[in-house]
Symmetry: C5
Subunit: 353 residues, 5 copies
């Protein structure tokens, strides 16, 4: 679910051509319909396409959730029922669609990314989430059947929640809020990874850290690309241009806006920290190189003069008076010791050893 | 088709002087005229300049496509027929013109770049595309006769497409959309190149990667320079200042705007990744240097003392008692082995070997 | 109190759920009520929840200060009494809330960070401060019972201060001003740390400086994240959208705005200086490496030829006429001295020694 | 004509003091007067100051061009004749004036820089160009007598050009356009220099490239500083605030604006490429260092064990059985060969040789 | 006068508390009063506090200049006389106040920095300048008694200057203009320092340059922090919101605005050049390291084989036929020469020597 698939749009197809762009998933999409008004809430799981017609005619708020995008005909059928523009339907099916909001007047189309961290592969998994908000209905689409929105469903059914008093706009808010809450979970996991790497960097800087830091940096880039447009989406709602979002919901929208800003700031901080880590890593490599070269220099500087001296008295000249002296050998040994100790002290004083 | 030609504008010529700026291509330009209304579509290929007059007088939408810019008189003639300003004609002929939109009231002039990747030379090839949109006609110009717009032609002729119901503005949209679709193809190819380099960087970092990364970076710079102004062009249309673009086409324009943003974001991400790759490359060079220097140090540190010892007992002093000992030689060999093994262990423990 | 806790928001809880997010502190929160009008000021410390009712009904300005956020019921009760929105109450309890201002019409909710420097751990400690400003009351909340706002209390009670003439807005201003004043104290401490490091960098560049610089950089990042949103908060007040802040208080607000800008500029300058320090550090490492390698080269270049010469005359060829010469040995010694001195001079002239 | 002179403004002089700031040039300024209307054009070269009075009273457009700024009295006199504000006159004389536009109502003062490349010194030469546009006159001033504007003069005199139909604003446009055209010439020359350096960088990276790259970078900085304010100047005209520039000239102004943007983009691209070149240069230095160190390591690793072995059998112990063996010497030679070949193969396999 | 004092604001003091923040200076402040109208100008130096009352009641423009901020009572008294807000008085006394403009309606308070370069210490000295402009008076305050504004005084007294015709706003302009003129002097000095360092960098790159470059960079940071807010201050006046600045003075204000922009651009250029210098410095260190390591490698590569050969024939094997050969020694010498020369040529061809 990485940058690969981002670009697979086919040249030459007319706009609005419905085509599922993304990795195929075999399972049949599940449709869940939840209808509620001030008094009651009725949920039906595994609804068939044909049953859908009657539901949408009811009063109150109808939430149709489709888990799975591989069956184009379901999206097409829902599009006809709710009179959705073909460009919106195309965007629903294109799992590479970046987060955006498009106001079609009668309804608003919102695309966002559900992001979760897979600690084993150390990558961020993204899922394309689509929300269509009408005056009394919400359609939501996701790629898999992971039950991200279960708590929302529970709260609606529990009866005493705010959902009953608010309309479809509040439901849309609740779905976006859930996605943003997942971002915080993701950030917490990334934050732990950052601290882990920072810790390792200080205790045992190692060539293996390099790809790890690089990988983290790339993930941050990816995360950033998903969150910045989300901010724009929420800002668009907050500005209150659409009549579909009512005044008392906007307060909640401002709250998520605030959370999005916090997510962005955290991502930027992590990015800065990761860059800083790379610099530290480079510095510590240089430092260690320094140590190694110092050691080489110390060894060479001590042994080269000694070896030279030994070589000197290994020469075969006939007339070398020192060689004949009785204490020549001990004298040379002494000289060597003096040289060695002097050198050693010199380096100790320079704090090289 | 690189940065060279970008600047060849002649000093002192009056503005609006028609002059083909670009590499000369020998072939005669081909003119294709496609006229369509709600009921029918008629295409004529290889139209001569003189035949053009009658066509433009017809009802419906007339699309005149000129493949080849080397014959100034064709552009001049079309300019007179459709009453195009000489500055616009000059821009059509200047293949170095950056993407721009100029609203002349009666018609809109749009310049964009068709970009394709040449994997063999690993460069991006650019082609200067010009679109003039009037109330009931579209003139388009390209440098070569590569058939980028064939799918559009097919869709118009097929009869059941949206083209028949929309006007010239929708045709202009379709042409721009085709160009942007090609960007996605290009990005996919560049993305593969990025991943390829990243892969190589991890498995076998090599001095040969350096010019490859540099080259990729330069191509990104070039791509960026073509895409950013395009975004502005589309934003200008989207703002809806011109009466030529009708409300129902603007929805589609917003869709390309969205795609352009996605292209820009992807280019920026690739740029960041390429920069990051350079850093990683530099780090891995330092790392390997470290390894090499460590090896040198290990070798020197082990052999320098041994060589010194050998030199010591190679000295020719008359009175060197060790030399007379029966077990002097084995003792020295033992000492050497002890020194060598100790050093080796020391470096093993420091994880240098 | 670092980046960890920043993200702990629970997925799936309905918005406005009151939940204390932050490290638990055992002590019971203290409530202090200070009521004043033009003539008198009455302060009660350690007020119980039940006593609060009557107080808020009085004329003049009532300031209720809660030190400690761990008892959710206190915040809940105050919320009911002053009719505070549950989203605001949620933000009061969330100690990770970034600085923000939310105008609820009847009252304004402001969240800011009190920052103090802990020189022993060399980290910045943050405390979540909340201010709710109504027409004739101010509620303030802090996490601990550190008496940041004591001087404000003293000035109110002293009688001759501006507080008596101004309303609740001036009190809110005074609280924010106190927080910003603490920023200056913090900056002064950080500035000393920066100069200290800079000094050390010049006198004794050392590998130990690296984590210190990195740490300082991270603290700067953190500080920046707290101060930038504060600027926005104050700018929002300054713009004068809310009727709660009166004209004559806005002049003071502009004054704090000015201070905030100064804080931001100082933080940015410190950041630049820290980055610059890292560059200097890297350069000085390279410089020292250079010195070390030069030394190695000097030693090798002097002794290698000498050792070679010694080795040459240590060869055992039968016919080596030099060996027989009477002055062979002194001649070689002379040659060696000449070579050594020449080398030494060469390096001296190249300024290597 | 570099950054030196930029700052020479004298402290304490009253504003509007006429003082020639710039390098003195001995020659007397030449005044050329060109008067034209729809029917005729009359040019007089080498006009004296006293003759000027009559000319400016005529109908049509009068263009007075002054080549040379060293004679303050000429500028002063023209200032009186056309009622120019002393601040504008001061700016005309200050050759360090950055590009700017000042609208004085009756006339507009424009300062721009003519830039040409001096390939021999590899610096950009700048000339201060001033244009004063009134309702029916244009005054232009340049520092030297280089005939940049000759083509404009030719076009006016040729009779069939647009000049005759347009007013003074079109003439001003033509002058600015000429200057911008020269920028393209300059950019082409710089572009060639960039490619030349890039080429050299790949084929023979050399320490001599470093100052060349640095020099190019500094020139880019300088160029940028001249072009950015020009963009602003043209944008100010384009916005159409002044009645002096008529609607039909603004189309041409938009055209130069477009060119200016292209110049800026090219400069930025070159800057990016130069930065990238520096990085590549640094990497290739590191790479070569790596090669050198590898070579050193290979040599040391091969010869150190061999030299040790030779030293071993050069020891003078009495009891060294190997020395007595008949095949001792060949055996050692064999051993040395084996060691040497093994080492060599090892490094070959590691791709070091 | 560096970043130290910037932050000394005391926590808990009420706003508007008059307190001199800055280094204490012992001398008593001097008050100079200059009163002028269209006909005459009267200057009194060393005016006492008590004499001030009468002066301010006169017609025309009164300029009261206070040199020295250490005597709070003077500022307090002037504040009462001219009815200055206590926040403005506080800012006058705070020498760390950043440049700002505050419009109090009746008068405008302006704080700017006088910057001068101290070439001996190579730091920028800053002095806090305050200007209060009323309808018919100007109060100015500076820290020391350096006579920056003497030329202004001279021009007023000389009689034929523009001062007599304009009001207090023109005087305020003249004071600010003087300060900005000093910036140009400062920039010229810094520019010379930059070129000096650049020159040294090319001719003799040295470790001593590093702190010099760092120091210059820090000064640039400081300069920048003073100049950017000044730009804002002047822009605020230019926008013409205040009735105190009349139309005909605004033209002059635009002129200083222009100068401020030029100052900022120059500072940014110097910053870029300084950064570039650091890069060049790092590159030249790497280059020299490269040279050193090459030399080491050349020496080792030449002498190691030779030393090995010498060692080989220094072995004491009984049966070494070469040793017995009559021409063994010359043959070995020849072999060594061949090896040495070959190596030398090899390195010459690789351009290492």
């Amino acid at each position: 679910m990485r940058r690969h698939g981002l670009l697979a749009k086919k040249v030459g197809l007319p706009p609005g051509t419905l085509l599922h762009v993304g990795s195929k998933r075999a399972e049949r999409p599940t449709i869940t319909v939840l209808h509620y008004d001030e008094e009651s809430a009725v949920e039906k799981e595994g609804v068939l396409l044909d049953e859908l017609v009657a539901d949408s005619a009811q009063a109150g708020v109808t939430w149709i959730h489709v888990a799975g995008l591989s069956h184009v005909e379901i999206i097409e059928r829902l599009g006809q029922m709710f009179n959705i523009h073909s460009l919106a339907l195309e965007d629903i099916l294109n799992t590479n669609q970046r987060p955006k909001l498009e106001d079609y007047g009668e309804y608003i189309y919102i695309a966002i990314k559900m992001l979760t961290y897979q600690p084993d592969k150390q990558v961020i998994a993204a899922e394309h989430i689509n929300i269509v908000v009408g005056s009394n209905y919400v359609l939501s689409f996701q790629e898999t059947d992971r039950r991200f929105f279960k708590p929302v469903r529970e709260r609606i059914k529990s009866g005493q929640s705010r959902f009953r008093k608010h309309g479809a706009d509040y439901l849309a808010y609740a779905l976006i809020d859930t996605v943003v809450d997942y971002y915080f979970v993701l950030l917490e996991q990334l934050g732990e990874r950052v601290e882990e790497l920072e810790e390792e960097l200080v205790t045992q800087p190692d060539a293996k850290l390099l790809p790890a830091i690089h990988n983290l940096k790339t993930e941050m880039l990816y995360l950033r690309r998903s969150v910045w447009p989300l901010r724009e989406v929420i800002a668009q709602i907050e500005r209150g241009d659409s009549a579909l979002f009512k005044e008392n919901t906007l307060l909640y929208i401002r709250d998520i806006y605030d959370h999005t800003i916090q997510v962005i700031e955290t991502v930027e901080t992590y990015r800065d920290m990761t860059s800083s880590m790379l610099e530290i890593y480079l510095s510590s490599i240089s430092n260690r190189m320094n140590e190694v070269v110092k050691m080489l220099t110390v060894i060479s500087t001590i042994f080269m003069p000694l070896t030279f001296l030994a070589g000197l008295y290994g020469m075969n000249f006939k007339y070398m008076p020192e060689l004949e002296w009785q204490y020549g050998y001990p004298a040379v040994l002494l000289l060597m010791t003096v040289i060695g100790v002097t050198m050693y002290r010199y380096f100790s004083r320079k704090a090289w050893i």
